[in-house]
């Protein structure tokens, strides 16, 4: 090959790099491992993570059964070794699946349009806020304190750079957004951001909040981290939300220590030109056969550069495919069964804890997650950690000064938490 190139040696190919700028020594990284040694080393690391029991913590990342068929199909090289479908004629597999993803997102959220996925729920929320400022020309967004704290942190980070203002409104004893406070803050807002369900597991006051927002000319952004809830709770679009964002991690994506997972972003049709990220659309080939392509790319950075609706390029395609597959297997029946099952398991958990005198921290209705009054939550967490169980999320970590949050442990129950396991957990929490 060097002959064909007309070079004497491989190093010669690097002559455009000034000698003094080159690295004169080998990189200081660990020595190479053969595949057997690599597996041994990675097994060592993996075994230092304890996952024997499904975690009782959700808080934005939910443990659900992923049918093995989903994972096996994801390993088909045609899917996972492809990239963004720039060449639609040989990317119809990815494109068709993305079109199905967009449809699933619309059906679940009750909105008109979905993009092809976002990094995650937190950035989707921040991008939604930015979209609202572009749509309304306003610079203030109002967010409920009951929206996932991680999402709110990211919202702050993103909006700080664009000098937009974030106003937070508190939640009440029922764990729902304080509507009076919201009414006071909504004037002149670009958007109202509220959880569905919210971070406390509570089914929040979306209908009321969206009504207030609409009056004030603000968009309503509903945020959902536990998408299984869509199988039991009314669609945000049907309750006044103009935008629905969050993650579909619950479908087909294991926790994986928090990432990757497919963020979703759905809107009402009028905001289409302000939608961030990639979108897949249907069209015809020159023989009139239906096919799919990436479209409306004039919104995107590779055309608009600094005027783009977002800088997102690589998104979460494979995670969205995993969710699409899982949703396809679940189907109409499976999704509502799964949602009822989850709610039923949460009720079992609540009853099991109640039987031991442990009460919910908030009075509002919940789906599959709830905060409980356990006293010293951190102590409970470390006690159960000794048993190899991830107990839950102590709310005080995010709401140090909130009276209700102090001593509250946020716990989840899903189809993975058998009645026996729930019982064992309740006993461990309150021996």
């Amino acid at each position: 090959m060097l002959d064909a190139i007309g070079a004497k040696s491989v190093p010669e190919l690097f002559r455009s790099i000034p000698e003094p700028l080159r690295l004169a020594r080998p990189l200081d990284v660990p020595p190479a491992l053969d595949e057997i040694a690599l597996f041994a080393e990675m097994q060592r690391l993996a075994s230092r993570n304890q996952v024997a029991h499904p975690p009782f913590v959700g808080a934005g990342c939910y443990p659900h059964h992923v049918p093995p068929v989903v994972d096996q199909l994801l390993l088909r090289g045609e899917f996972f070794t492809a990239y963004t479908p720039y060449q639609p004629e040989i990317s119809q597999g990815t494109l068709t699946a993305l079109f199905e993803w967009q449809t699933f997102v619309c059906l679940l959220t009750g909105l008109d349009v979905s993009n092809a996925s976002m990094y995650d729920g937190a950035t989707a929320t921040a991008e939604a806020a930015l979209m609202a400022t572009r749509v309304t020309g306003r610079r203030k967004v109002v967010v409920s304190a009951a929206v996932h704290p991680e999402y709110r942190k990211v919202l702050d980070t993103y909006l700080r750079s664009t000098h937009d203002e974030v106003v937070t409104v508190p939640f009440g004893a029922d764990g729902r957004t304080d509507l009076a406070a919201l009414a006071g803050a909504v004037e002149g807002a670009a958007a109202v951001i509220i959880g569905w369900p919210n971070f406390l597991g509570v089914v929040d006051a979306l209908p009321e909040a969206s009504a207030l927002a609409r009056k004030a000319g603000a968009l309503t952004i509903a945020v959902t981290a536990e998408a299984v809830a869509f199988g039991l709770l009314e669609a945000p679009g049907a309750l006044g939300a103009d935008v629905a964002v969050g993650t579909m991690q619950s479908f087909g994506n294991p926790p994986s220590f928090g990432g990757p997972a497919p963020g979703f972003f759905a809107i009402r049709e009028p905001y289409l030109r302000q939608l961030p990220g990639r979108v897949c659309g249907a069209t015809l080939d020159k023989h009139g056969r239906r096919g799919f392509v990436l479209t409306l790319s004039t919104r995107e950075q590779h055309i608009r550069r600094e005027k783009a609706t977002s800088n997102i390029c690589t998104n979460a395609g494979l995670c969205a495919l995993a969710a699409t597959m899982h949703l396809a297997f679940l189907g109409k029946q499976g999704l509502s069964d799964l949602a009822r099952l989850n709610h039923g398991r949460l009720r079992l958990l609540r009853d099991a804890l109640a039987a031991r005198g442990v009460k919910p921290a908030f009075s509002g209705p919940v789906f599959n997650e709830q905060a409980f009054e356990v006293g010293d939550a951190e102590a409970v967490v470390s006690r159960l950690a000794k048993k190899g169980i991830a107990a839950g999320a102590p709310l005080a970590r995010w709401y140090p000064d909130h009276p209700k949050a102090r001593g509250a442990l946020l716990c989840v129950a899903t189809e993975l938490h058998s009645p026996e396991l729930i019982d064992l957990f309740a006993k461990a929490v309150q021996p």
């Binding site: 090959m1 075994s47 996952v51 060449q87 059906l107 096919g291 550069r305 783009a308 494979l318 009720r347």
Partner: protein
């Protein structure tokens, strides 16, 4: 996986007799494919493709406000497990991936995605670990992140790395936020970012998202950015310059040290878009070149799968002075135990959080596996082979296709369609015709500075035989462009779909299925 390339110096002589079907893997032929409706369009009803514990009835929701409940969602599929398996199996057959064939998509570094990494990322201890599991239950994951951070700092020649950004573009955003915060801490965030005309679109977009205005710098006739150009544009209002090195022409920015000096002299910082790090692994380090900040694309340089459009991962490495501003979380090692710093109180200068939880951990596992399998020699061999392959492609296609810049190429080479002008055949046509020859087209019409660009990045993964087959196809197309241009313009003929009408898609957007959906 076997060593990144299976390459040995001995192999130079190795180009052996080709099989009866041409060298390397054979080309495309017409074969059987299966039409498949959308999952929502299947006739089947009443079936379900999962097996769940018996679910309680609607009464289970008695504790929820009836007005907030919904029944089964109309429109969702009702298919058996088998029907659904067939659906996705058939869809996958319409796709082209690295596992299908050569995928020289410039700037995207479509290298082999080791199957071993897929197995490792699926170890229950990694895949099923919850991000909020107590640290004592997650020591293995934290150790892996801690090690990966250090390796990435060493490879970049910088001091500290954050793993959190979700992809390259978010890495850019992160890096610029850190730069902004650093300037802020020095009293003035500044207003502008200098970006050469060869830059990827995410660069200006990230700058804008950061509240900076972009100043575009023209690259010189040799495809390089020249110090004078920077000198003229540089002032105290410039927060940073964003450079990709090697740049998107595959050309090394030889004046990088001088440029960095100019920018630093005026108090600016130098940001590096590390998308092209595959050219430099173990050969040169951005930190040594004068960069203060650089983002990686683990899904390019470190072989994590592109997944049909993600997920990616875009860690950012910085100089010590910038480390305090990195986003949360940070992994710290205390004695023999690891812990995540997530509280701003511990890192008062942090720019904050960029995404939920800690980052795309699944990608960290794969990238760490790649680094561990390569070791120092393997990483350097990666860069050397990537550059060797790109220069081989250049040598073989030069003369057949026009090379807009004679300047040395590193890991990728950019041609254009000037030589085909007379025939009316364009870069688009060449790309589509390549499909009929069994190859994924290169990146086209980027970088924008080259009109009708054909940007070819073979990566280190490909054998000479595969590249020879690609070269043969490219030459055949050039010949066909002269002999039968309309045939080239009619391409592709072999896939399940011919050229798709993108204008129609944008003019009348149909972005989701609806019952009785029509596309016309």
């Amino acid at each position: 996986m076997s060593n990144p390339t299976g390459w040995k110096p001995s192999m130079e002589q190795g180009a052996a007799a080709a099989g009866p079907m041409g060298p390397g893997a054979g080309g495309a032929v017409q074969g059987i494919a299966y039409e498949e409706p959308l999952v929502f369009e299947h006739g089947s009803r009443g079936r379900c493709g999962v097996s769940l514990p018996a679910a309680p009835g609607p009464e289970v929701a008695s504790d929820l406000p009836p007005a907030l409940l919904r029944g089964g969602i109309e429109g969702l599929p009702e298919l058996s497990e088998l029907e659904t398996v067939r659906h996705f199996t058939r869809l996958s057959a319409w796709n082209y991936g690295i596992d299908t064939g050569f995928y020289p998509l410039g700037s995207c570094t479509m290298k082999y995605n080791p199957r071993s990494s897929e197995a490792l990322a699926r170890l229950p201890g990694f895949a099923w670990l919850h991000p909020l599991a107590p640290a004592e239950l997650a020591q293995g994951a934290l150790e892996l992140m801690w090690q990966l951070e250090r390796a990435l700092s060493e490879i970049a020649g910088l001091d500290a790395t954050t793993l959190t950004p979700a992809a390259g573009a978010q890495g850019e955003l992160c890096g610029l936020m850190v730069i902004r915060a650093w300037h802020q801490a020095h009293g003035n965030p500044r207003k502008k970012v200098l970006i050469p005309d060869t830059a990827h679109g995410t660069n200006p977009a990230s700058a804008a998202l950061n509240g900076y205005t972009c100043v575009e710098l023209p690259s010189g006739p040799d495809g390089r950015l020249h110090p004078e150009t920077v000198q003229q544009a540089m002032d105290e209002d410039v927060a940073a310059i964003m450079l990709t090195n090697p740049n998107t022409l595959g050309i090394f920015e030889t004046h990088i040290a001088e440029i960095a000096a100019i920018v630093h002299a005026k108090g600016g910082l130098v940001y590096g878009d590390g998308a092209n790090m595959n050219a430099l692994l173990g050969v040169a380090r951005p930190g040594d070149l004068g960069f203060d900040v650089i983002q990686y694309n683990l899904h390019k340089t470190f072989a994590t799968p592109h997944g049909g459009g993600g997920p990616g991962s875009g860690p950012v490495a910085v100089r010590a002075a910038l480390a305090p501003f990195l986003p949360l979380p940070v992994v710290v090692k205390e004695g023999e135990t690891y812990r995540l710093v997530t509280d701003v109180k511990e890192r008062p200068s942090t720019v904050g959080k960029l995404r939920e939880f800690w980052g795309n951990f699944g990608m960290f596992v794969r990238a760490w596996a790649f680094i561990r399998e390569c070791g120092p020699e393997g990483l350097k061999a990666t860069a050397e082979l990537a550059v060797l392959n790109a220069n081989y492609v250049r040598a073989q296609l030069k003369g057949t296709y026009n090379l807009p810049y004679e300047t040395d190429s590193l890991h990728e080479v950019v041609f254009d369609d000037k030589a085909q002008k007379a025939t009316g055949v364009t870069t688009m046509d060449v790309a589509k015709r390549l499909i009929d020859h069994g190859f994924h087209p290169p990146t086209i019409y980027f970088p924008l500075v080259v009109h009708g660009a054909l940007m070819i990045e073979p990566t280190e993964s490909e054998s000479r035989e595969t590249i020879d087959a690609f070269v043969t196809a490219m030459r055949a197309i050039a010949a066909e462009a002269v002999a039968a241009p309309e045939a080239v313009k009619a391409a592709p003929l072999k896939p399940v779909r011919a050229r798709l009408d993108e204008t129609r898609a944008a003019r009348k957007p149909v972005l989701r299925w609806t019952p009785g959906m029509k596309v016309e």
